[in-house]
């Protein structure tokens, strides 16, 4: 069978200033709903006031901004999901901490050593 020629649309068919039709309007509204479900940090990047969207080109810019934000939000969530989790404290360390606490209790009232005490053990300093 011979190759079938497919004519191109004329260049003047392109008109991003064409007023958006009811379908694009509804797509913009759907995207607005989708935008409202995004966390604030993604919504802040969109910066388009949809009430001012009138033309196909303007609608397209808004739709692109929300679609990209949705992609980004999912990608970030996926990255977080796959990131290596901090290892849980081994039991032995917890036991050591418990031992330290017992030791501190025993040492209470004794003279403090001259070196700085360890931070981050959870022990509260007694108020003077």
């Amino acid at each position: 069978m011979a190759l079938i020629h497919v004519p191109n649309p004329p260049k003047n068919a392109y008109d991003p200033d064409r007023p958006m039709g009811s379908l694009l309007k509804s797509q913009v509204e759907h995207m607005r709903e989708a935008e409202s479900k995004l966390p604030l940090r993604y919504r802040q990047q969109i910066e388009i006031y949809i009430k001012a969207v009138r033309t196909e080109g303007e609608a397209a810019r808004y739709i692109q901004a929300v679609t990209r934000a949705i992609h980004l939000a999912h990608e970030d969530a996926e990255r977080e999901r796959l990131a290596p989790k901090p290892a849980a404290k081994p039991v032995i360390e917890i036991a050591a901490v418990a031992d330290e606490a017992a030791e501190r209790k025993q040492n209470r009232g004794r003279k403090r050593p001259t070196s700085k005490s360890k931070k981050g053990t959870g022990a509260k300093r007694r108020k003077k």
Binding site: L3, V6, G21, L23, K25, S26, Q27, A60, Q64
Partner: protein, 415 residues
């Protein structure tokens, strides 16, 4: 003897926008009388505002004719299907397809302009769509799922129901009925599926899935072309056209969805590109079926009355339908052009069974998942399937991919 059906591994659905069967493919009746279109001399007309009959004319233009966008919301489609003076409260009214001109007249009160709704394309003006229809299988009775607009009709292609919606409002489905994509990617063994939208600027009309299933489910048209080239096409792909004129990465992009008043030639080119992307990869071409369909008729004339169907479990009340009467989803929308492409389909195949977009998830689910037991809508459960499941029990009379030797005479387009 094994047929092409045994080779099938991928199904691709391309859903265009807002054109009726007679408007796009009606002229083919002159070439193949089995195709239920329109030829000059057929008795079908519509009355204009003065009650004069208006005949269909082969005068459709690619752009600039259907302005304003013909009304295709529920009340307008009700008028188009049942004609002027029909009472939606009446239980015994019959669809007569007599209200297209009256409906378009309502938008501008312009007699001459209202007649343009009866225009159709001559065959030679749509070389891609008409060639594919004649070379592969064309469906004489594929209807929109609802006598209404885009979003609710597209929902039927994704979920097998619109969850009671007859309008353009966002659809947030209940958890129980999964989209066909979710069914596939969550199956065991896992199946693959993607919605390819044109680009992030055109994006998708399926926002609910976009929110829930990113990034696994969505890809761009560029990625579709790459997936075809690399032999990485998923089991099931759904392609969305470009819905707007906009600046893309490669410059100005013309909307190619064919929605009035977007340029129809841009859509022809897009359809040809999708077809060639599959055809140009030999292992894909022999293992893929491509369904090309339109979401709804866009208010444009068609002569075949939509049939009634089994009611859905959802209903739209009288306020939602805007005609004061509940709609139980027990009647189909207006007929749309639909073509099934595969090198295993004989040329000039014409299928007369009744389908609607609920047939898409019904077919995909049956073909890839077999007896799927989870919740589905009554509409989908009762929808006919257009590709039979593989296996020894295939009914040859229902198998469209019936050839046992792959065709080598399929057309090519210069895109």
């Amino acid at each position: 003897m094994p047929t092409g059906l045994d080779k099938l591994q991928h199904i691709v659905v391309l859903m265009m926008e807002n054109r009726s069967f007679d408007h796009m493919l009606g002229s083919l009746k002159a070439v193949n009388p089995k195709i239920d279109g329109y030829v000059d001399g057929d008795p079908f007309t519509n009355p204009d505002a003065n009650n004069n009959p208006v005949k269909p004319q082969p005068s459709a233009k690619f752009q600039g004719q259907l302005q304003p966008d013909p009304d295709h919301h529920f009340p307008a489609v009700d008028l188009q299907i049942f004609g002027k003076g029909s009472d939606p409260h009446s239980n015994d009214r019959k669809p007569n397809m007599q209200g297209f001109v009256a409906s378009y007249f309502n938008q501008q009160r312009n007699l001459a302009h209202s007649q343009m709704i009866m225009y159709y394309f001559p065959k030679e003006n749509l070389p891609v769509l008409t060639t594919l229809a004649l070379e592969f299988a064309v469906f004489n009775r594929w209807f929109a799922s609802i006598p209404g607009p885009t979003i609710c009709n597209r929902a039927f292609a994704h979920y097998g129901t619109s969850f009671g919606r007859v309008d353009l409002n966002p659809i947030y489905p209940p958890e129980t009925i999964k989209s066909v994509y979710s069914r596939l990617i969550n199956s065991d063994p896992k199946r693959t599926s993607k919605v390819y939208y044109y680009d992030t600027t055109s994006s998708t009309m399926e926002v609910a899935n976009l929110l829930q299933n990113q990034p696994e489910l969505f890809g761009t048209y560029k990625q579709f072309l790459e997936d075809c080239d690399n032999g990485d096409l998923p089991d099931y792909s759904f392609i969305e056209p470009n819905y707007s004129d906009h600046q893309g990465d490669s410059g100005a992009l013309i909307a190619n969805d064919q929605h009035p008043d977007h340029n129809v030639r841009a859509g022809e080119k897009f359809i040809a590109e999708v077809y060639q992307a599959i055809k140009n990869t030999p292992q894909l071409w022999e293992s893929t079926a491509l369904l090309i369909t339109y979401d709804e008729h866009g208010g444009i004339f068609d002569h075949v009355p939509p049939p009634s169907c089994v009611a859905d479990k959802f209903k739209a009340d009288g306020n939602a339908t805007e005609v004061g009467v509940d709609f139980h989803f027990d009647r189909l929308g207006v007929r749309v052009p639909t073509i099934l492409v595969s090198p295993w389909i004989p040329a000039n195949t014409v299928d007369n069974r009744v389908f609607d977009h609920a047939s898409i998830p019904a077919t995909i689910t049956k073909f890839f998942l077999g007896d799927y037991s989870a919740d589905r809508s009554p509409r989908e459960m009762n929808a006919d399937i257009f590709i039979e499941p593989q296996g020894p029990a295939v009914d040859p009379a229902r198998n469209l991919l019936s050839l046992d030797v792959m065709r080598t005479d399929c057309p090519d387009f210069d895109v």
